[in-house]
């Protein structure tokens, strides 16, 4: 550990080099696809629906089954026979299976799984499976899906609305009646995902002798999904052993979405009678892993003339895609306790609807619910300023939760633990030199340039209450189901016979550096160096301590898990101090651990090696208090503040609430419509900072995701539900060229509710940055409505006249190829004229000859003559890496 070895103890708060890095930098990481699977493991490949909505008729698997190397083929019928649907978070007649059963509801939905001796052969076999699809109309837009005439995704539900709940806190109606004005925004938040560079991976085994599954997957939790998977597999919880690999290539929430694939591959292993491994490819990941929800929000405020907001009226329509997969509709409720953001607003009404559409099911994604909520709330604050002729920053300031009001109970039940919002803003304004940025705007506008400034003030929740999702249920339904709340974090600290320290955490790290911080925490308690402490981050549900709250989500590591590590180490330290006190002949309180020694506070020479003390229980149990030991301590920690939702639907949805204030200056190119971020300032208060380097990394990383969401990234669907962004050439992830470096500012108001005073910091910019940039774009253009992502074409429409087609062409010929809209069929259309200098009958003779026809149709394969004038041709068409198979009827 160079660069820090000379400093005194106190590892926390310092940017020590990470213990994870040496292996990762030398190619010695152990990711799921690096682990040697059991001998005889087979490879799986998944056949997926090319249609957004279709009844599935016959699935012809014989040809695939005959391919040498193919061991088994799993279809919906097998899955229905061997398992149960995945349990949903709400009570509704919805069945969510990991594979299409009789009906495909989104492009990419699994239809069959081939298990073969290697992946190449498994993919060969996919091409030999013929599925008969009967197309159904697809519905992609959530508003259209709510119409009574819309095609139904789940017939038993009788509508596409899975949940419709209204809430009222305070007396919003009276406030709207009394306020000077009502100001509203109507916004849409798009679909996107943080797309970790490592895709999903599962290795599954089934032991028929025990009726037990053993699965290794780069799943990130929450472990509340373990019972969901065990029930789906129809085994007791103790017969689903779930393990995670030591390393995982990023997640950002996305690797929660492994749940249906863990079930699917486990079933494939059972059917094949052999271990099965599946590594998702990128096209699969983009089209069918998981997506953040898109949301349509109407948000109105009752506003006084000075910009003071008296009440909010939320109407949120959440599009969860084709299935309501647990833990959804959690994204709609995660922010419930902080729907008033950073503001002191006492009256709130909310209507939340959950809608199903023919798109990939939604799930966890960095910011989870926050980007959607803050896009509406902070666009509203800017709109209020615009309509009332006020400075947007003054409107923010006027409504903040006052300094000194913490802990502050929000109208919807959240408990904002600590903060100084006004102080943070003033520091950011000064240190980020807002005045200079304003001068830059004046100057740019003077030159006729499109320059705007945006602001966003955001409360960043972390450490989710496991009960918040039950807010979707009525109080009566909750009473029947029993209360759900809390969030147990676990950590184990142990000594071996040489007195060395090991730590095990159930936070399933995905690259954040949990092992390093846990080592810092323990090193501080025992007077050791972080490198002396071995930390295991992989999880084994059969052996390790865990709870349903375990996993890597809701930015819970720093506040909850590092705190649990601290408590476990402290318990052992207290025991060791009593043992050392006897040997050093001092009071236990006068024993200090420093420099790898236990020593008397006032006489450093009166000391013993820490390792000797730590090993004592192994060799001489008598040195400990009678019947006690200092071998191993496991702490389960949950904060009392995370109570179940009240009968009035008030919920403290998260334990900690950090604060972020962002402002930025952007310029929109008058010719191209491209956005250039001129300056971005982001002020964070995430409580006590445990590792500044990692906090900075979380901020720059989250900022990059957010910038992508603001400017480039969108899971795009055609009106017929076909998926338009299936490669990294279509789904545009920003590179080093697109991401500017934000100015990061910090202040620390420790959380009173966590053992170390830390709060989460990983997700905040995903909540603040998209809307901050959107506010700047609205400011630059002087418009009310801006839509994410801020694509050049969308922005240019505000200042370029509408383009007309050149004379002589029509819209029909200009758009030569396009999917037919609305009928659910994926049909390629083309149109064109070729003149051939031959008499017509020659041309007809040529066209009606099967061999000639096959030769002139690009990508033609097998050709079948149906009649004198009808042919059926198998066609393979490809553009770049994307390839599609289809049939053409030629007449």
């Amino acid at each position: 550990m160079h660069a820090v070895t000379d400093k005194p103890p106190g590892w926390l708060g310092r940017s020590v080099e990470r213990l994870e890095d040496a292996a990762l930098l030398t190619g010695a990481g152990r990711f799921v696809d690096d682990i040697a699977p059991p001998p005889g493991t087979l490879a799986a490949a998944i056949l997926r629906s090319p249609r957004a909505h279709a009844r599935i008729g016959a699935i012809a698997i014989d040809a695939a089954r005959r391919l040498p190397g193919v061991a088994a083929i799993l279809t919906g019928a097998d899955v229905a026979a061997m398992s149960a649907p995945l349990a949903a978070g709400i009570k509704a007649p919805l069945e969510c299976w990991p594979i299409a059963i009789d009906r495909a509801r989104y492009v990419g939905e699994p239809v069959a799984v081939v298990v073969a001796s290697d992946r190449y052969i498994a993919e060969d076999a996919l091409d030999l499976i013929a599925v008969s699809y009967e197309p159904l109309p697809a519905v992609v837009d959530p508003i259209a899906a709510m119409q009574p005439t819309a095609t139904l995704l789940h017939d038993k539900l009788g509508a596409n609305i899975a949940s419709d709940r209204s809430f009222c806190y305070g007396d919003p109606a009276a406030q709207f009646a009394a306020a000077a004005t009502r100001i509203a925004v109507s916004v849409r938040y798009p679909r996107n995902s943080c797309t970790p560079i490592e895709t999903y991976g599962v290795i599954a085994e089934y032991a028929a002798s025990d009726d037990a599954y053993d699965v290794t997957a780069n799943f990130m939790g929450p472990l509340s999904m373990h019972p969901v998977m065990a029930r789906a597999l129809r085994v007791p919880g103790n017969r689903l052993r779930l393990r995670t690999p030591p390393d995982s290539g990023g997640s950002f929430g996305v690797k929660q979405g492994l749940v249906p694939y863990i079930v699917l591959i486990a079933l494939a292993a059972r059917l094949a009678g052999r271990p099965v491994k599946w590594i998702e490819d990128r096209l699969e990941h983009l089209s069918a892993s998981v997506s953040a929800t898109n949301r349509v929000t109407k948000l109105a405020a009752a506003v006084d003339a000075d910009g003071r907001v008296r009440a909010l009226d939320w109407d949120q329509i959440e599009d969860v895609g084709a299935h309501l997969r647990a833990p959804e509709p959690a994204a709609l409720y995660r922010m419930h306790g902080n729907l008033t953001g950073a503001y002191d607003i006492r009256h709130v009404c909310v209507r939340n609807r959950v809608v199903l559409t023919n798109k990939t099911p939604s799930g966890l994604n960095r910011g989870f619910g926050g980007p959607q909520v803050y896009f509406a709330l902070e666009r509203l604050m800017q709109r209020i300023a615009r309509e009332l002729g006020l400075d947007p920053l003054d409107v923010i300031r006027r409504n903040l939760v006052p300094t000194g009001a913490f802990p502050y109970r929000t109208a919807t039940g959240g408990l904002l633990d600590s903060g100084d919002y006004a102080g943070a803003i003033e520091r950011a304004v000064a240190q980020g030199t807002l005045a200079e940025l304003r001068a830059r705007r004046v100057n740019a506008r003077g030159q006729g340039r499109l320059y705007g400034i945006g602001y966003a003030a955001v409360v960043e929740p972390s450490i989710s209450n496991m009960g918040y999702i039950t807010t979707v249920l009525t109080a009566q339904e909750r009473a029947r189901a029993g209360p759900k709340n809390g969030a147990f974090a676990t950590a184990t600290v142990a000594f071996d016979p040489l007195g060395c320290v090991s730590v095990q955490i159930a936070s399933t790290p995905q690259g954040q550096g949990h092992r390093t911080v846990a080592a810092q925490v323990v090193a501080d308690v025992f007077g050791l160096a972080p490198a002396d402490v071995r930390v295991l981050g992989e999880l084994d549900t059969a052996r390790d301590a865990w709870s349903i709250a375990s996993g890597n989500y809701s930015s819970r590591f720093a506040g909850a898990v590092a705190g649990a590590v601290h408590l476990a180490a402290q318990r052992l330290a207290a025991k060791l101090k009593r043992a050392a006190a006897t040997q050093l002949n001092v009071a236990p309180d006068d024993v200090v651990f420093a420099g790898a020694r236990a020593q008397a506070r006032d006489n450093r020479d009166n000391a013993m090696a820490f390792s000797r003390l730590a090993a004592a229980t192994h060799w001489s149990p008598g040195l400990m208090d009678a019947g006690d030991h200092a071998l191993r301590e496991t702490v389960f920690w949950t904060p009392p503040e995370l109570a179940a939702p009240s009968d009035a639907d008030a919920v403290n949805s998260s334990l900690c609430h950090g604060f972020i204030f962002d402002f930025c200056g952007i310029e929109i190119d008058r010719v191209t419509g491209a956005v250039r971020v001129d300056k971005y300032v982001t002020m964070h208060d995430c409580g006590r900072v445990l590792h500044p380097g990692m906090v900075a990394g979380q901020i720059t990383g989250g900022f990059a995701h957010a910038l992508g969401a603001a400017l480039y990234e969108e899971f795009a669907y055609a009106p017929d539900g076909s998926f338009l962004s299936g490669t990294f050439a279509d789904y545009l992830v920003p590179t080093a060229m697109e991401i500017p470096q934000p100015l990061m500012l910090h202040m620390e108001t420790p959380s009173p509710f966590t053992p170390l005073g830390a709060k989460g910091v990983g997700e905040g910019n995903c909540m603040s940055t998209p809307v901050c940039i959107a506010n700047a774009a609205a400011d630059a253009l002087g418009v009310d409505q801006v839509e994410l992502p801020l694509l050049p074409a969308r922005l240019a429409a505000h200042f370029h006249p509408r383009e007309e087609f050149p004379k002589g062409t029509t819209a029909a010929t200009a758009v030569a190829i396009g999917a037919r809209q609305g009928d659910g069929a994926m049909t390629l259309h083309g149109r064109g004229v070729v003149e051939i200098a031959r008499v017509p009958q020659d041309v007809w003779a040529m066209l009606l000859d099967a061999k000639t026809l096959a030769a002139i149709i690009p990508g033609a394969g097998a050709i079948e003559k149906l009649s004198e004038t009808h042919f059926r041709v198998d066609v393979t068409l490809g553009v770049g890496p994307v390839r599609g198979d289809g049939h053409a009827l030629v007449l």
Binding site: A3, S15, E17, R18, E20, D21, A22, A23, L24, L25, T26, G27, A28, G29, F31, D33, D34, R119, Y120, C194, T195, P196, I197, E198, T199, D247, S248, G249, G250, F252, D281, R282, Q510, G511, Q512, G513, G693, M694, A696, G697, I699, T700, G701, G702, F703, A704, H705, T727, F728, A729, V733, T735, A736, M737, I739, Q741, G880, P881
Partner: protein, 169 residues
């Protein structure tokens, strides 16, 4: 150029990280799969299999190349270097690797091997790059964890340290 048959395995001989290796591959096998699953060199990672993310970048005859867009049989007789070759010895890190650790230039570490390979090659040819040079060069790689800023800082720092080492050496 040997004639290859699509339906059988062919012997591929090449130099991998300074050692001669030989193994069997079907003509359609990707170099990335060959390195990882046949030769057990799992440091080279696969992120997209269509040449955009850059995680699988390796060095072939001195040039950076996507292992996912290269067939195993194409490296017959070539010199290939992967991330496993970068450290000067067991338990040690190269100047570039150390700079990444010092600047927190990685989080999950999945894209890192490809980025290290690209930068290792780039810094040999461009010992004094500007920040924009590095950003432009890195635009062939996707990283979802870091936001790139610490990677750029690590690369600039490594370039400086490599120049110093060169002067001293």
């Amino acid at each position: 150029m040997p004639r290859l048959s699509a339906d059988r395995q062919h012997s591929v001989r090449f130099e991998l990280n300074g050692r001669e290796v030989e193994a069997q591959a079907e003509p359609r096998m990707l170099l990335s799969d060959f390195l990882r699953h046949v030769l057990a060199m799992t440091g080279t990672h696969v992120g997209c299999e269509h040449g955009v993310c850059g995680a699988c970048t390796v060095e072939i005859d001195g040039m950076a190349a996507r292992a996912c867009l290269t067939l195993a049989v194409q490296v017959e007789g070539a010199r290939v270097r992967t991330v496993e070759a970068l450290a000067p010895g067991p338990g040690r890190l190269s100047i570039l690797q150390e700079a990444f650790r010092r600047h927190h230039g990685l989080q999950c570490g999945f894209c890192t091997p490809g980025i290290l390979m690209s930068l290792d090659i780039f810094l040999r040819a461009h010992p004094a790059p500007s920040e924009i040079d590095i950003r432009e060069y890195l635009s062939g790689h996707l990283c979802r964890c870091t936001g790139y800023a610490p990677i750029v800082a690590a690369a600039l720092d490594a370039a400086e340290k490599l120049r110093e080492a060169d002067i001293i050496g």
